[in-house]
């Protein structure tokens, strides 16, 4: 338990230092609980998520880093590997391919990569997966873009 705390503290310091280095990711630790984190990530360019800012919630187990953190989207997103209602993410490194060498920062990077390269063959969001699998890339992109505009962009006016 102490190990996880120490490690998270290290990560916290690392994040403070790297904040400028990676402008796409903004990791924030909960004021009162080091096991709760939130992150703001920018939608990668040349994807329907471009221009959006997505909020992630991290819940870190006491066995961390030997066990993976639980991550979910707080911002609604239309993506085949994200549950439309709960924001749950289907990503191998958050399940069985987890390695203790990963950090919260690198998990964010992996999620950004997942946004750019969806895997429609293991969908949590079937509608989105089916659009991609049937080859309707335009349909998928317009849906994703619409939800990005609705949920992930500051309201105009």
């Amino acid at each position: 338990m102490q190990a996880s705390r120490a490690r998270l503290f290290k990560e916290y310091k690392e994040v403070q230092r790297e904040k400028v280095a990676d402008p796409d990711i903004q990791l924030v630790c909960d004021d009162s609980n080091i096991f709760k984190w939130t992150a703001l990530i920018k939608g990668p360019s040349e994807t329907p998520y471009e221009g959006g800012v997505f909020q992630l919630a991290f819940s870190v187990p006491e066995q961390y880093p030997l066990q993976p953190p639980q991550v979910r989207f707080l911002t609604k997103i239309f993506h085949p590997n994200v549950h439309f209602k709960t924001g749950e993410i289907c990503l191998d490194i958050l399940k069985n391919a987890w390695s203790p060498a990963w950090t919260l920062q690198s998990v964010c990077r992996a999620i950004i990569a997942l946004m750019a390269h969806p895997e429609p063959d293991s969908p949590l969001n079937c509608d989105s997966g089916n659009l991609l699998r049937s080859g309707d890339v335009r349909g998928f992109q317009s849906m994703a873009k619409m939800y990005t505009r609705l949920a992930a962009m500051p309201k105009k006016g």
Binding site: R7, K10, L66, A97, S99, P100, A101, W102
Partner: protein, 600 residues
């Protein structure tokens, strides 16, 4: 051919007295038995009991082979064996097919062993990627795969994995590294913090030999005896653990041959599914055909009489006259399943009848078996009385042998009913055989079953006789009968198994039904595995010596008076010779029930 067989065996049935009255037939049978090529000489038991103590010795041979072939260190050999489920042949096959690299990477054995350069950096510090601390190198550990983390993080990782039950495949912590960690390092690191967990880890590793290995299984005894059984070659067999538990190695249920595992599973499920009350009534009582009161059978033969005075047959429940012998009731025969019933009732009813027919017979025989096992006590007393008497009769092994033969055949007989239920039920084998074909086979099988049944009942009758009060001549006569019937039932059992294996199951296309072969000595007792190899060779030598002495010590005159059934000619003489040598007390005779041995 089948028809002819039927006729001839039916003929034999008519002449069943032939065996009993003819003294010579015994000798014939003995000779036949000896010349029978099917009869293998008694050899060392092929199944082994693996105890907690001998578990390491049991896997050493496999480990040695892999270590020698691939020039590996012990823990890598174990990793390979665990991955390939202790199938050494499989490892060799993968090696030939895919090469060493694939063989290793698939199992998570690192190909390069990099033990260089470690000493040179021992003074400097390095950062552990897990806890992100800068630590001196002597607090870091590098695995065979080349990844280096601090001891603390490794230890935590191992503890988590061991507690998750993953002891046998703890992988490196680095991303996408599938190498299995060195067991010695795991043990050392975990031992420093949780010695009991390190012990647990060791046990898990050792027990992989049992749990990841299809030729080794835990003995299913309850409470668990702590032993495992290893078989050679054939997993379709029945074994007896040193704790006395007998079981089918394939499905770990009670020994159920000649029923196949699939059939047995269906049968036990079916018996459980029937509602409790219906079950209790069909199992324990029969309605009297006259007054319809439920009647319970508490012993004796199959002719039961109700308190209202009506006599009826326990097997079919039909009213009968009072004239009967032990094995049949005058003018009454019900061992066969009658087709005419079928025509009258609709399908559901027919199925129920059918089930009850087989279940009742199955139950009748298992019940008889239970009642007869109480005979052991009385037989012991009777023999004690006779031995106390001053007479020429000295050897009473025929009684215990006969009793054992009775148990053995009764078992086979009772399990043959669930077998017949599924074999001829038309559900399992609809696509495999035509109706006519099946019918012919059914007749063939039922003939054999009936013959066996008749002889088993006769044997039971003679063994239950109060012969301790009889004159010597009369005892001699009973002795002849018991010996004679023992031989016959043994032969009939074997024939029935052969019929099932070759004529019935052997002709099927899909081989999902396998049965353990018949052993007239009964279920094979697994022998204890010696803890060291030296002990084993020593034992073998001892046995050799024993056999030498016994061959000399057997006298011809022992033979006719000695053994109850032919199957132990070799063994019973062996037993006697051992007694002369003073070994008799400590040696087990496969042929006797366990408690009889204890008494000896």
């Amino acid at each position: 051919m089948d028809l002819e067989d039927c006729m001839s065996s039916a003929g034999e049935e008519e002449e069943e007295d032939y065996y009993c009255s003819d003294r010579d037939s015994l000798d014939d049978a003995l000779e036949n038995e000896e010349s029978d090529p099917q009869w293998a000489p008694p050899k060392g038991s092929s199944s082994k009991v693996i105890t907690k103590e001998s578990l390491l010795a049991a896997q050493r041979e496999d480990m040695r082979r892999v270590m020698e072939l691939l020039s590996l260190r012990e823990h890598h050999a174990r990793t390979l064996l665990i991955h390939y489920r202790w199938d050494v042949e499989k490892i060799f096959a993968v090696l030939v097919e895919k090469g060493k690299d694939r063989l290793f990477t698939e199992a998570g054995v690192p190909i390069l062993e990099s033990h260089n350069s470690d000493s040179s950096v021992s003074t400097s510090t390095a950062m552990c990627d897990i806890c992100m601390e800068d630590l001196p190198s002597n607090e870091m550990t590098k695995m065979d795969c080349g990844h280096c983390f601090c001891n603390n993080c490794w230890t935590e990782h191992f503890i988590v994995k061991i507690n998750e039950g993953q002891s046998r495949r703890i992988r490196c912590m680095a991303h996408k590294c599938f190498a299995i960690c060195d067991e010695a390092i795991i043990r050392d690191l975990v031992d420093k913090r949780h010695p009991d967990l390190a012990e647990k880890f060791d046990r898990f590793l050792l027990e992989s030999y049992i749990e990841d290995n299809k030729m080794v299984k835990w003995c299913p005894s309850i409470p668990h005896c702590g032993n495992a059984i290893r078989v050679e070659e054939d997993e379709f067999c029945e074994v007896e653990c040193s704790c006395g538990n007998q079981f089918c190695f394939s499905c770990l249920c009670e020994a159920h041959s000649p029923c196949s595992c699939v059939m047995w599973e269906l049968w036990t499920k079916k018996c459980r599914d029937e509602s409790e009350t219906v079950n209790w009534i069909t199992v324990h009582t029969k309605p009297c055909p006259k007054c319809h009161k439920p009647v319970e059978k508490n012993g004796g033969c199959n002719l039961v009489s109700c308190i209202c005075g009506q006599a009826f047959c326990w097997l079919c429940g039909g009213a009968t006259g009072r004239d009967h012998t032990w094995s049949n009731i005058a003018g009454h025969s019900c061992g066969r399943y009658k087709e005419d019933r079928e025509k009258k009732s609709e399908r559901a009813k027919r199925d129920l009848y059918r089930y009850m027919h087989y279940h009742n017979r199955y139950k009748a025989h298992t019940d008889s078996f239970k009642q007869e096992s109480r005979l052991k006590e009385t037989i012991r007393d009777k023999v004690a009385v006779l031995e106390g008497r001053d007479s020429q009769l000295r050897d009473f092994s025929w009684v215990t042998n006969g009793l054992y033969r009775l148990f053995r055949s009764r078992r086979a007989l009772s399990y043959s009913y669930p077998f017949a239920y599924y074999m001829f039920g038309g559900e399992l084998f609809n696509d495999e055989m035509t109706k006519e074909d099946l019918e012919i086979k059914q007749h063939l099988f039922e003939d054999q079953q009936q013959q066996l049944e008749t002889n088993v009942e006769k044997l039971s009758k003679f063994i239950e006789e109060p012969f301790d009060n009889y004159s010597e001549d009369r005892i001699m006569e009973i002795r002849m009968q018991v010996i004679n019937l023992s031989v016959i039932t043994d032969t009939l059992c074997r024939k029935m198994y052969e019929c099932i294996e070759t004529d019935l199951l052997g002709s099927l296309q899909f081989g999902i039904h396998n049965i353990a072969p018949y052993h007239s000595k009964g279920i094979e007792k697994a022998t204890e595995l010696p803890i060291s190899w030296a002990a084993k060779s020593c034992n073998a030598e001892k046995r050799h010596k024993l056999e030498d002495t016994t061959n000399g010590g057997t006298s011809e005159s022992d033979r006719p008076s000695g053994s109850g059934s032919s199957d132990e000619i070799g063994f019973s003489s062996l037993k006697r010779a051992r007694k002369d040598d003073g070994f008799g007390d400590s040696m087990f005779d496969l042929n006797l029930p366990a408690d009889v041995i204890d008494r000896n």
